[in-house]
Amino acid sequence: MKRSDGRKPDELRPVVIKAGVVPNANGSAMVQMGRTIAIAAVYGPREMFPRHKKIPDRAALETVYALVPFSTTDRARPGPSRRSKEICLVIREALEPAIFLEEFPKTCINVYIDIIQADAGTRTAAINAASVALADAGIPMRDLVTSVAAGKVGKDIVLDIDMTEEDITKCDLPIACMLREKKITLLQMDGDLPVKDVKEAMKLAIKSCEELYKKQKEALKERWVKK
């Protein structure tokens, strides 16, 4: 089967990752997956405000995910929506297991993600960018977090669906994992799919994360080690 843009079922869109794109931040990254572009910046560990939100035995991870108004086909109203708030939450939970938060009690690590162009798969691009930004900031981590979404178009499980496919897919299954131990840190699904297919989609997604992981690593190396 050929996909709308000619990709193979398990083929990702062209991926570009760059670290260190926001000079003001402690760490930052830009991830482009097809037309979707996410920029993430990390500040901290820094003082927690308001103070009463301090966590006594670990750092608090705060994630903010925002769609830039002109990132979507129809202008997105600025400010948080119910959708973006949920995504903030799942992104935070996708990243938390990877970070040695216990090393910085009572502090705060802020991860800000702006989607400057949205063409499906924004949360997976956001997680990929945030993970590189965290590593770029020198935050102690167990592993990088890598993320991709699977779907089903026709009879095929396909990866990294774009906007045209999003309209025809039978499901949207974003997944994030720490590859080293194959630990899943984000799993969502909406659609209508038999168990067998869900399992296959997950396996396929995790496999393709390896390719993304390599790109994440390369981006960090390029930023920090001059040739």
């Binding site: 926001v22 003001n24 572009i37 903010v64 830039v68 002109f70 129809d74 202008r75 162009q117």
Partner: protein, 255 residues
């Protein structure tokens, strides 16, 4: 930092700058056209480490009751917390609103966009042009960077197709008609001397700021004074002259 501020002030009193620029020298300015293809038009401007992205979206809506046959222009600025350790989440701050309004006035008052041409059906349907300013890294002089990006984005804007019911954003045929290229030049007064394109360190200690937007013919179309110090006539004249002279250079980047 007071010590650092004192150092910059000392330099400024001699007409010198921390990054060795001349008083009338802009930082390296790069203009990237249409980086966001989902927007009807977009531009990214980098001035030194300042990085601003502007996108234009067009939608069909109702006209204002007092301007039945004119399209609307809405400028909005978001100071994303991503761009600076000093920015916070939440509703736009005073300075974000000021930025949006200065950019708005430059475009509106210059008559760069003929809003009458944006009327689809008098009193019922007009084009609404949203200009959204997104800061990606803040290192001073957001005004010039944002306004430069805004006019560049407008120049590259293509109007989506509209069949009377739906806007087809994927199909854009006609170019938005832009008559002028308003370009701002911000001059700040530090220790009695005037400097264009302040970096953040300079902005933090500036006494006063004057943003002057000029049109292609050199006419002024918007002024905005900022900062708590007063300006004297000679200083304002200097800023006006600089705006004309430097505006010409910036206008070349817009294309």
């Amino acid at each position: 930092m007071m010590l650092q501020n004192q150092y910059i002030l000392n330099l400024a009193s001699k007409g010198l700058r921390i990054d060795k620029r001349k008083q009338d020298e802009f930082r390296k300015t790069e203009v990237e056209k249409n980086p966001i293809d989902k927007a009807e038009g977009s531009a990214r401007v980098r001035m030194g480490k300042t990085d601003v992205l502007v996108g234009v979206k067009m939608e069909v809506g109702e006209p204002f009751p007092d301007k039945q046959d004119e399209g609307t222009l809405i400028v909005n600025a978001e100071f994303s917390p991503l761009a600076s350790p000093k920015f916070e989440t939440g509703p736009p701050r005073e300075d974000a609103i000021e930025l949006a309004r200065v950019v708005d006035r430059g475009i509106r008052e210059s008559g760069a966009i003929d809003t009458k041409k944006l009327c689809i059906k008098k009193g019922e349907k007009v084009w609404m042009v949203f200009i959204d300013i997104q800061i990606l890294n803040h290192d001073g002089n957001l005004m010039d960077a944002a306004a430069l990006a805004a006019i560049t984005a407008l120049l590259g804007t293509k109007i989506p197709e509209y069949d009377g019911k739906m806007v087809n954003h994927e199909k854009r045929t006609k170019k938005l008609h832009v008559l002028f290229k308003p370009v701002p030049v911000t001059t700040v007064k530090i220790a009695g001397n005037m400097f264009v394109d302040p970096c953040l360190d300079e902005e933090n200690i500036m006494g006063a700021r004057l943003t002057v937007t000029t049109k292609d013919d050199g006419n002024m179309c918007s002024l905005q004074k900022g900062g708590s110090e007063p300006l004297v006539m000679e200083e304002i004249e200097k800023a006006l002259d600089l705006a004309v002279e430097k505006g010409k250079e910036l206008r070349k980047l817009v294309g």
